[in-house]
Amino acid sequence: MGRYILKRLLQMIPVVLGVTILVFTILYFIPGDPVRLLLGAEPTPAQVEAKREAMGLNEPYLVRLGKYVEGIVLHFDFGKSWIYNTPVTSELLQRFPRTLTIAVICMLMQILIGTPLGIIAAVNRNKWGDRLSMFIAMFGISMPNFWIALMLVLLFSVKLGWLPPFGIGGLKYYILPCIANAFPGIATQARQTRSSMLEVIRSDYITTARAKGMSEFRILMKHALPNALLPIITVVGNGMGMLLAGTVVIEMIFGIPGIGWYLVGGIGNRDINVVQSSVIFLAIAFTMIMLLVDLAYAFIDPRVKAQFAGQKRRHHHAHA
């Protein structure tokens, strides 16, 4: 098992490198000259040139790329903000916990609310419980999260005044952002769980379980659910990526000082280093989460575990 973890970690490295290079390269081609913005009104060509030298912008592509990558890989240093000249890394590290908190809470909501909804829908297939929850779920995945956020603010802050629409400070500040961000995820989770359950319920081993004389509930809990949840793990992992990305707008709306807000600010300022570093940071976080998902899979599914744990197999059959 340890060997598998190591193997996956090693596989992750070229991907992370690739992401860094890709993002850096794309942003390398940004038109216009951000240096002019920095120097305020009417800088002289000499000043512009000097600034460019100082920021290392005149060096060739590969050198700049190399220095950037080296900084990240060896020192975990994303360089400095172009506009404010402050270290980006410390900002990222300071802001990440807030972004992560929202993402994790949303993930928990997704799992704890979405999964039971999906199960109930699958078990009550085509009856009103199923139709109603799937109907609502349809709406859920069709609403942009920033719109939900604003609607919630409209209802709970403006009209009812129950919850604060802005800032951080206590638990209640996180309520609206989390609900808004989680809503589409809960809907997706419910839909995916339902469809996974429906497939599993039709399996032959469920008939075998019935033939043993098991009650429907026990069959659901012991046979159907564990098998249905396996493919859902991937959905959860992907959803995490969406959540991380979704916090970009959510933080902006609710004024939460996380990475998303930092990124949007960087875009507005044309602060390229902030933009690329934030994106890469989030992408790395996403990659690590997918790694955890893969490991979870290997841990839980005996078929996958056998392949990587070096367990002695007598016969290998593709699972039905």
């Binding site: 070229p14 991907v15 992370v16 690739g18 992401v19 890709l22 993002v23 794309i26 942003l27 081609f29 940004i30 038109p31 297939r125 085509n126 349809m138 709406f139 995945i141 069709s142 609403m143 942009p144 920033f146 719109w147 604003l150 609607m151 603010v153 409209l154 403006v158 469809s195 990526g241 969406m242 991380l244 990305a245 979704g246 970009v248 707008v249 902006m252 709306i253 990124l263 949007v264 875009i267 507005g268 390229i272 933009v275 690329q276 994106v279 989030l282 992408a283 996403f286 990659t287 997918m290």
Partner: protein
Amino acid sequence: MLTLNSITMEDQPVKPRRKSQFVIVARRLSQNSSAVIGFVVALLLALMAIFAPIIAPYPYQKQDLTHSRAAPSAQHIMGTDELGRDIFSRIVWGSRFSLSVGILAVLLGTAVGMVFGALAGYFGRVVDDIIMRFMDILQSIPGILLAITISVVLGPGLFNTLLALSFGGIPMACRLLRASILGIRHQEYLEAATSINASTTRIILKHVIPNTFSPLLVSSTMSIGNVIMMGAMLSFIGLGVQPPTPEWGSMISGGRGLIRTCPWMVTFPGLFIMLTVLALNLFGDGLRDALDPKLKK
């Protein structure tokens, strides 16, 4: 071993294969009420986009500062924004941008993805490896972040946004096509090695593309809704399509500051985004069910 099955069933006459497959799918679709609703709504929205100049009561950039920030009324059924522009008209015109960006971005991404997939599947080995690694990297960046990154470089604007959003669809189409080709390839290796070049291209056109057709169609239809939402998100944060062009996302962004006093500015555009995505998703769901009877209720 001789069994009853082998001795009682005569050979079936060979039926022509893809006869009226389209009709079968269409019939199944028509029986699915939510898919039909989705299709009709999507069609209505498309018509709204096409006939925008006729449907919209006012030109979308026409300002009327005396009636700015007006609540919905008979004159302005969805109210006006801070510059007195009629919101309903702007929504109607905005549908052109949202829909065209969505559809074209998905088409572009799928086409490019298919090309990559074909190359990867056809040439195999090193080419395949490189392309697949590239797809892995692309997929490691959450969709909206990728779109943001490219948008920052390209800048705002309809065409640029379209381009930025198309990248997200490349990996999926690439993998689907590559998988189909690989499936066929293994069979072809058994045939004589001569003239494999000529026949493989034909095989790709005659067998691979039709095979990939249904999963591609379903995933593309569902993606359009997602891409429209991402486009709105881009406009919301200042990239994408910017005012005065009436894109739904930028309308919401513009109305955000006035949410306390003019909630209609934020509500209606978002409602239309939801409607569009909902319609496409309903249709996409129905399409998936109709194309794969095993998954049907």
